[in-house]
Amino acid sequence: MYTAEISRTNPALILFLFDCSYSMSEQYGTAKMSKGQYLANICNESIDQIILSCEKGDEIRAYFEIGILGYGEGSDILLPIQSVIDLANNPSRMVSETLDGVTVEKPEWISDPTKRVNTDMIAGFRKAKSVLADWASTHPDSFPPVLIHVSDGEWTSDNPVQTALDIQSSVTTADGNCLILNIHISSEGGDVLTYPAETPTGSEHQGALFGMSSELPESFYQRALEMYPATQVGARGYMYNAQPEDLTKFFDIGTRLRG
């Protein structure tokens, strides 16, 4: 399980689910930006890394499909599921950066999606469940879809944990069940956590987001161990106030650093 090679024939899906509620407009810790802006940065950086991992020089290979959902008052599709090739060709804007003294154009796809609304997190997970199930049914041999949820964890609707667990148990491919990773960005402070194996002792929201996070499959666990050597057996896909490392490191895109 969780060993399917990601290829153009069997691409993988990464679906982002973003909290666009009022609380995400608050300042994020000591960063000079809102949580919503931070979320947008994580997303743009992750999509960029995924596209770069598919870049071979002469072409971009369609190893991944990516989509973004948001929730606040109900749920929205912020970016429909599309291949990395379409994403690379259609950014919403380009920003300049300098690499090795060369000025290059870096793409971005979303800006701060925050709206001044409630936090209907369960609506977001329900929408995600439907989107993920549709995708899995048309990609039965692919690596299982991965849902990356970014939130400050403070829902105002019904508790969404059971819906998230339903996604894990019901959305499957031949290679395993859907994986849910939670990136918890909070202004409450507390210790930074990366892929803990035990329930955090902090707030109720920490416990809930940890509880709905998938246990890392062996291949993900090994990569997490490379990135964070303190990762323990039984680690879950949960991060608290941590800068997510290159998410593409989790995925076996062909062979890794072999000739």
């Binding site: 596209i51 071979k56 971009i60 690379a88 690499l99 154009e105 062979t255 072999r258 000739g259």
Partner: protein
């Protein structure tokens, strides 16, 4: 010398995207240079980089580790891939390209009563050389000597000087003197790993014979698909070159497939 060579891309990948590069150059009547480079598939312009390496290495660089290192540095400077898109440019600037290398110089030392082959070898990474004696036994392998050696991440030649300083490679030199009747096999990493497995099962030479019996790349691709599916061989690009002056000593029949890239 009779030369058999075969290559195929990893399963599910078009042949044109095979990132291995293999060249043989006849330096003079006595001297032949064999170069095999394996472009890392996670990099950018891997095929172009492995081709650039094998196309441009000069046999004079195989005099010493220092000469080869100097030469490879000049290759880094002269590598100018045709970059037409921003994503490719950014990845090239951030990560560059990387590849492994096996360089083998075969010199024939002809005497009155018997002739010998002097082998000079340099390795960066995990492309392997196997040398068999007339009785079919493996008398030398380089740089790896056993299946378990493939657990290590191979050294890589990188186009980015900055990244190369961060993760420097080691050029492993070696030399070996053998009979002119010996059989020499140069193989990229996945098939080398498989061959060491076959060695442990006592099937090494018969595996080489199966490869030679393929006669063309189409049959070779079918054989590699069988190895992948039934023998657990890693799904990777595969290149094999077999050289011998005495094919009838080792194989049921000998077929010369010519010199690729000569």
């Amino acid at each position: 010398m009779t030369i058999y060579s075969f290559e195929t891309a990893k399963a599910g990948v078009e042949e044109k995207n095979n990132e291995d590069s293999f060249r043989i150059r006849q330096i003079n009547m006595e001297k032949t240079m064999v170069l095999m480079s394996d472009g890392a598939s996670t990099g950018v312009f891997s095929k172009e980089w492995s081709d650039h390496i094998t196309n441009n290495i000069d046999s004079s660089w195989l005099k010493s580790v220092d000469d080869l290192e100097y030469g490879l540095n000049t290759l880094r400077e002269s590598f100018k891939p045709n970059i037409t898109r921003q994503t490719a440019l950014r990845k090239f600037l951030m990560e560059g390209s990387y590849a492994t290398l096996l360089a083998l110089l075969i010199e024939e030392d002809t005497g009155w009563f018997s002739s010998k082959l002097d082998l000079t070898l340099y390795s960066i990474g995990d492309v392997c050389v196997f040398v068999f004696s007339e009785d079919g036994s493996l008398e030398f392998s380089f740089p790896y000597t056993r299946y378990e050696d493939f657990n290590n991440v191979p050294d890589l030649i990188r186009t980015s000087e900055k990244l190369q300083k961060k993760t420097p490679y080691v050029i492993k030199p070696s030399s070996f003197k053998t009979s002119a009747k010996s059989l020499i096999v140069v193989a990229s990493d996945a098939i080398s790993e498989y061959l060491f497995q076959a060695k442990d099962e006592g099937k090494l030479l018969s595996s080489i014979e199966d490869i030679v019996a393929c006669e063309n790349n189409e049959n070779f691709k079918k054989l590699m698909d069988i190895y992948r599916q039934e023998m657990n061989m890693k799904n990777d690009d595969v290149t094999v070159c077999v050289l011998t002056k005495e094919p009838e000593l080792y194989f049921r029949k000998g077929v010369n497939h010519g010199l690729p890239g000569a």
